[in-house]
Amino acid sequence: MAGQTDPHISLFSPQEVEFMAEDELVEIVPNMNMEQLNFISGDFGLFIPQIPTKVPLWLAVALKRRGKCSFRPPGWMSVDNLTQILEAERESQSTFQALPFSYVEIARLLFDHAHDDIPDKYMVRSLVEDIRDVRLHKLETNLGSFQGTSAVKISNVSAMEVNIVRPFVRRALEAFYKHDKPEADVGRDTRSSRQQREANNEPRRPLRQR
């Protein structure tokens, strides 16, 4: 997909998407005593050894780097669950399985920084990669099949996947819109047409589920 390589077309670079995903909460098991941390986003802690607590991913990674905690891999990152998801993803061609919105980024960060805390890490890693590939492929084929519409609804698409297809889909939808209503297009620039689309399509959202 074009957006994957060209940073100008994609809205966010993968690094930016990852940065945003770092706000997700993960569970860690600290091995130090520390007071509660008060951040703008909320209070985290107290940190007592061997007692799990939830912190943002970026904080967890920072603590892990200093050897102050170990991760508890999230529940969806088990071999059983991932195998099930992979099978389900392969089975149905139109729907996506429910995974955390930024599962690719979380998995990536965990593998980079906390691979020793993940049981069956090689298996999990290959499963996550497989799931990502299957979903991406599915998304691409689905995009190829939509026609004559100004809105698409696909549920359970993750951040990275949305980010990849967003520029293409947006422009494709714009094009569809233009060609569907040539009379409405006269005398209007693209910006106003987009505004109108946004205003109009709310009730029409569940148009075609792919």
Binding site: N31, M32, P49, Q50, I51, P52, S70
Partner: protein, 944 residues
Amino acid sequence: MKSRSLKLREAHKVGGSAAFCSILWDHKAEHFVTSSSSDPSISVHDGLLPSTLPPTILRHHQDGVTALALSHDSSFLASGSIDHCVKLYKFPSGEFQTNITRFTLPIRVLAFNGSGSLLAAAGDDEGIKLINTFDGSIVRVLKGHKGPVTGLDFHPNGELLASIDSTGTVLCWELQNGIVSFTLKGVAPDTGFSTSIVNILRWSPDGRTLAVPGLRNDVVMYDRFTGEKLFALRGDHLESICYLTWAPNGKYIATSGLDKQVLLWDVDKKQDIDRHKFEERISCMAWKPNCNALSVIDARGKYGIWESLVPSSMISPTVGIPDILPKKRNEILNFDDEIEEELHGASESLNDSFVDSDDGESHHTSRKRLRKKTCIDDDGDAYEELNDGSSLPSASQFRKMSHRVHREKQYAGSGAFKSTAASNKYKMQSSFQPGATPLEPGKQTFLCYNMLGCITTIEHEGNSRIETDFHDTGRGPLVSSMIDFYGFTMASINESGCVFANPCKGEKNMSVLMYRPFRSWASNSEWTMRFEGEEVKVVANGAGWVAAVTSLNLLRIFSEGGLQKHILSLDGPVVTAVGRKDHLAVVTHVSDCLPSNEQVMEFRVLNISKMTEELKGRVALTPGSRLTWIGFSDEGSLSSYDSKGVLRVFTGQYGGSWIPVFSTSKEKKQEENYWVVGLNTTSVYCIACKHPEIFPQVTPKPILTILDLSLPLASSDLGAASLENELILKQLRLYETQQRVDDMALAGVDTTALEDEAFDMEVSQDKCILRLISSCCSSDSFVRASELMRLLTLEKSMRAAITLVTKLKLPFLAEKFCSILEERLLEEANEAITNPSQNPNREVVTRVESKVQNPPASFQTKSSATKLSATTFVRKAKVSEGLKLGKEQVKKDETEDVKIKEIKKLNLIKKPVNNVNKEDKGLRKEVNQEEARRSSNPFLKSTV
């Protein structure tokens, strides 16, 4: 016979004088290794075609190689050299692994133990080093020889190590504790300091005898345990023996003498069968495994293989190899055996140990019995026959038989007893260590787990490895792992050190107590204590003390440095013990288990530094349960947990009683068992285990779950169980804190911090009560509400309660509340006036005055309660807000009333006294009690 020539091939060049050369076979006879003390290289020869294939040469040493050793499975080769190094290689590849140790003087001899986990190395240095082959750490240094150690051999069962030095002294070491089991002084020839001749000794493959060259050109056999001389092989050697080796089955022995002869002996008949004369002295020999062949190497570095040396008319040396191989010798067997014995009652196991320990047959009998139990009978018989074929003295065989018969009789007897006399007899629970999980062979288990850290042990090829970890890795000291020769089963850890103990296994292994401090200004401040004739049952440690409770019901208290400070006799057999700072809690049995399966136990809490008893009482348990954990909460109150999942805390209420503060059955998650680790006043720390398991595994590292304390309350019609629970817990907490304040005040310690804490608790308790009042009001239980009103501690919260009920449009309740408040204030005033002598403090007097000034406000509230609710208290939506407002109001009232207080004071005091007299006396009493408690209330001070 003599005509048969043996062609020798050169492996190592030996120039000048003779050198000590070594030869070794691997266990499959695929390769053999040679070395020479005048050549730094080691040659690995192909065992099948030694002549055609050039040997692999390992050149890592800088000087001659004096010692070679192969691990039992031939995966590792160790070499020792005159260059003071011991190197480890992979075998057969010969890949260099590591310099596993260094000495200050040349190495003379190396030996692997049966499992390959230990390498013993010795030489001209003072001690024999036992090296852990896994990480190269020195497990132990055995010191005792006066000269260079030239011979080492591990006993086949891995428990003993025999060593011989060049002066001819033999020492036999017990590896478990590193002590010498026997010494044979000067039994072998003195070889001087020459590196070319060594003294040698070898255990027989069945492990019963130790063969050592004698002073009279003979080989002397010694008993494994006592070191008694059994017999000697004496024959045609003209000079003393310099090397000997047992045939794999132990029926033959090959000896080489300084007279350049090699003799083959039949050990059973004690006579030589065959001999061979060589041109040079044979310095080393090795039996080729699975073959009737002996490889030899002479002092010139020439080797050869003496094929089919045992005549075909006799039993081949490869037939009937005793299976005391390390795999078979695994502790699992012994362990199972022990469990079984335990099941059959203590008396019998005692009997066992008496019978077993005086001969050396315990292993054999136990294995045999196990086989009989688990496998088909034929198997065991076959094994017996095999043993009979060897040189087993018939007497011991007979004893064994009779022993077994005896045992079987006992089985029958005990079974009958059980079935008739005590069919439903329950046993007293055995002693346990809090925070330990049951030992499982081959698996890591917790010896101790508490809020601070944990001690784990794993049995690994006969020895155990003990690891100590702190949960807070940043703060706790790093403690290196320890090889445990004793087989510790009990441990306790705190900030300053850890203590270990093992039970005694028969007469040979005494019960040992060991203490390892984490920080000490002096090196080597570990210490051990041995107990003869008694067994450590439970250990505990605290601030500067270590305690051990033994099978003789003795409580022994040691200082941190190992000084024996106190020995107390306890009332009964110990169940468990735990320490925290100065306090030691010991639980003992009071009597046998009741027929209803209730354990009768008693606890004592001792203060070690003051030498006082602080608490004593019975241990409360759920019927039919056992005590599974005992400990101190973070605040220091004694807590217990039983097998039915009820956590109790001991409080001073009602003269000292257990309060069940947590119950597993009340938790929603039924499929989990909780393994308690610790608790504080609000929550319990535990490890959640999936249902069938009741204790956690070491890996993956368990994490703690925090559960709120919840009393087993009856389901009330109020529908506010959590609030009721909270209230009781808060009352409990407040009570404890006030007790502590009183204790500290008595001791003359500054109590302000604790008093502040108590004040905070009172505030939060009042908040809780206010919420309860509101839920009582909504369910129309007004009597309960007024009772709750009386429980309120702070005046401002009472005011808040009044505003609350007025807001809830319950004027009659508001009126009642007002009268309660009045009563309270009058009581206080009364108290202050009648006992002014008790409060001579000026501050207190002013406090009383400020108290007295308040009634006008309350009267006002009473008279215009409804009006006020409409105007002043409209803003108060929440109870907590009401509390705040109440506080503000109190302050306002104070400032306004300060001026007129003197005038009104007398009047007010008169009136209320009359009022109170009319009231119910019981209520008054209650208020009085309230008053008594409030005497230490810091709030009163703070309002002034």
